[in-house]
């Protein structure tokens, strides 16, 4: 395993500088020299002239490659400009990258020297504000443009043009096309820069990646991505790290020999320019199921590629605002009226009432010790051991596995505010408590979990073991599971990808069943029994919700709870969904570390 450079902040927590256009222009100046590369670049274009014609109002580009590094370009018949470029080859494909000196834009080309087809990526910076302003004006109803995290001038924008090399005759009519043929695939890449990265092509407009060397491999993050098919084994992958550094990545992926040729263009979290080409060698980590109907090869996509922008769209509340919500507008399970079947609880199981009239104590190792009296099916009394005062609370309890019970309730009305989600294993007396609490060092209206492992005692209950406990696990790592939360067609459905022992991502499907937008968050995994796990996640830098599910792989169902604070108050609700196993990526060997 290579060296891991753990970072004090993961990408979603880094406050990337809101650079001005002038600052971006200045930072991009070195791109005039062309990209660097550790591997030898191609000389195949040296001395050649290429005229690339593109469709749909795209540019006509007339290139004269003066040498292996210098070119002249005339755009749309305009005056030629000089630039330095880099090129790499994969079989018959040649990839070219250059910027236009003195500007914030440039081109990446993929030219098929055999078929004459070409795909042009026009990449630019300082374009987000104009796009957002136009999108706001076009919205129905109209809205104000949002620049909560700045104008994002550092974020690359791309336009993609399909076309061909004009040789004067026999113009090809075929084109490279958008595709879903990479969907569901995972690849580990080791690049000539010693960068190691796990990439997962789980949707047709987004991808996951885990930066093993640059960020230590703790988190997976997601970025909008274009997938373009050259043929059955060669693909073009284009990604922009929106919401983060804004870095642009273009790769040729060759599935025959599992190689990649790429270019990376952008500004790091230290605002330093990265503009280099690279090669890489890959290993397939897995191929999961896809959910389009047979015959749908997604050669056309459902409209423009969308970008999910949680950092931009979710509100950050003040201390006082959150304090008011958690103290004065807190509701658990509809205040005893029941959670209903809305939201993520459409398939909640039968509510358990058999603890009514019973008493028990949960005792966490190095954690809370709580006594309970269950008044009825929805109301309980609780107190910490040693306290005199009993508190009333609404609760709901479910049975995700045989004689394994999971219930939740709010804790004291204080700020920050917490809830307890408690698992009781009647077969061995073990208990796990996930305590959810509002607030993180980054946002008041986020939540965070604290896990405790221990035992419980009740009259007629099992004698708990002395040393054995539920514990952390990596058994779920690599698995992908769809979750159908509501009845209907398609209803509310997502797919979870349990990427590492400390993170997961979720995928929302397009109407045609293909994967669409996705996002990620930290995640925690514990094992209660064989095939039965508690998984928790917090939608950090997003809506801040803590979700905790007890997932039974044998019945492919869960029972869980969501804990959220926002403008509409603090809520504790049920989660209940039906699952399908979508497949698994064998990523553990690349992650190295195991949960302990």
């Amino acid at each position: 395993m290579s060296a891991r450079n753990y970072r004090p902040l993961q990408m979603h927590r880094i406050a990337y500088t809101d650079l001005t256009e002038a600052q971006v222009l200045q930072a991009l100046k070195p791109t005039a020299s062309g990209p660097t590369s550790k591997s030898a670049m191609s000389t195949v274009l040296s001395g050649k002239k290429l005229k690339i014609v593109t469709d749909d109002g795209g540019p006509t580009l007339e290139y004269h490659f003066k040498s292996a590094r210098e070119l002249e370009l005339a755009e749309n018949g305009g005056k030629p400009i000089k630039a330095n470029y880099g090129a790499m080859e994969d079989r018959q494909l040649v990839m070219v990258t250059h910027m236009i000196p003195g500007s914030q834009r440039g081109y990446e080309l993929v030219v098929d020297q055999k078929s004459g087809l070409a795909t042009v990526f026009e990449v630019s910076f300082s374009g987000y504000a104009a796009l957002e302003t136009a999108a706001a004006a076009a919205a129905n109803p109209k809205r104000e443009p949002q620049f909560k995290t700045g104008k994002r001038n550092r974020e690359a924008q791309r336009k993609i043009w399909f076309g061909y090399v004009d040789k004067g005759a026999d113009k090809p009519t075929a084109r490279h096309t958008y595709t879903n043929r990479l969907e569901g695939k995972g690849i580990y890449w080791k690049q000539d820069t010693d960068v190691e990265i796990l990439e997962f092509y789980l949707t047709i407009i987004y991808s996951n990646f885990i930066e093993l060397t640059r960020f230590g491999g703790e988190m997976t993050v997601c970025a909008p991505t274009d997938y373009i098919m050259v043929n059955d084994h060669q693909f073009i992958y284009s990604r922009i790290e929106c919401e983060f550094s804004g870095t642009y990545t273009l790769q040729l992926i060759d599935l025959f020999d599992m190689t990649q040729k790429g270019v990376r263009l952008g500004l790091t979290d230290k605002d330093e320019l990265e503009y280099y080409m690279y090669t890489g060698k890959g290993e397939i980590t897995g191929q999961i199921a896809t959910f389009e109907v047979f015959g749908n090869n997604a050669e056309t996509r459902p409209g423009p590629r969308r970008v999910y922008r949680p950092l931009e769209t979710f509100e950050t509340m003040t201390d006082e605002q959150v304090k008011d919500q958690v103290l004065n507008h807190a509701h658990a399970f509809g205040d005893g009226k029941g959670s209903g079947a809305a939201g993520m609880g459409g398939y909640k199981s039968e509510q358990i009432a058999q603890f009514a009239g019973k008493k028990l104590s949960v005792r966490m190792d190095n954690g809370p010790k709580i006594q309970y009296e269950f008044v009825d099916a929805g109301k309980l009394k609780w107190r910490y051991e040693g306290d005199d005062n009993w508190r009333d609370a609404w609760y709901e309890m479910y049975e995700p596995d045989d004689e394994l019970y999971f219930f939740a309730h709010l804790l004291d009305a204080e700020f920050p505010r917490s809830c307890a989600m408690v698992a009781l294993d009647m077969k061995n007396g073990l208990s796990t408590v996930v305590k959810g609490t509002t607030g993180t060092p980054f946002r008041n209206n986020e939540t965070h979990p604290t896990y405790y492992f221990g035992t419980f005692q009740m009259d007629g209950g099992p004698t708990p073991p002395t040393y054995l406990r539920h514990g952390w696990t990596d058994e779920m790592v690599g698995h992908c599971v769809t979750w159908n939360y509501q009845r209907g067609n398609p209803g509310l459905t997502s797919m979870h990808f349990y990427a590492t022992p400390s993170t997961y991502s979720w995928i929302i499907f397009n109407p045609d069943g293909s994967g669409g937008m996705q996002w990620s968050s930290p995640g925690w995994y514990s094992k209660l029994r064989d095939g039965v796990y508690i998984m928790a996640w917090v939608e950090e830098a997003c809506n801040g919700t803590l979700g905790v599910i007890c997932f039974n792989q044998r019945i492919m169902h869960d029972a869980g709870f969501g804990f959220h604070v926002g403008r509409n108050g603090l809520s504790l609700n049920v989660i209940g969904a039906r699952a399908r196993h979508a497949g698994k990526f064998d990523v553990k060997p690349y992650l190295g570390l195991k949960a302990t």
Partner: protein
Amino acid sequence: MTDVKKKSTRRAFFLNGGAVLGAGVAATAGAAGLAPPAAKASGSAEDREAIRQLHLAFVSSNAAAELFEEQLGVYRQTASQLNEEVRLSEDGLRATATFHCEVELCTPLQDDCTAAQMARMQGLMAGRRWETGRFEASYVKTRGQWTMESVSYTRSS
């Protein structure tokens, strides 16, 4: 043969003052209206076509969605379109029409969780279903232009 249930499903949408449905619609209808009458006022093929075009413009407009409790997804005409009727008054200045169709009706995702927000951005619905029905509308011709006066939708069982 359709079994019409009017009471529970019928909602009427009345256009304010016979409002023009949009520039494109006005142009289409207006062009027909301004053209010299090729036939007698009653039963003119151009009038019928102008009304049909008005109807097509209406069903593709946001206003059509107001007729439905659920969200209108897609509209398509069916084989029963052959039975569409456009009835002109004797003076050729008023008309009523019946257009048969199929509509895709959608139930939006109502929830506020992140997954639902993302799903809505991608056009996902809690549910989708097709039903057959018919539009019944009345029209008036003023200064050579047809405008829609009222329209209702009735679901077939």
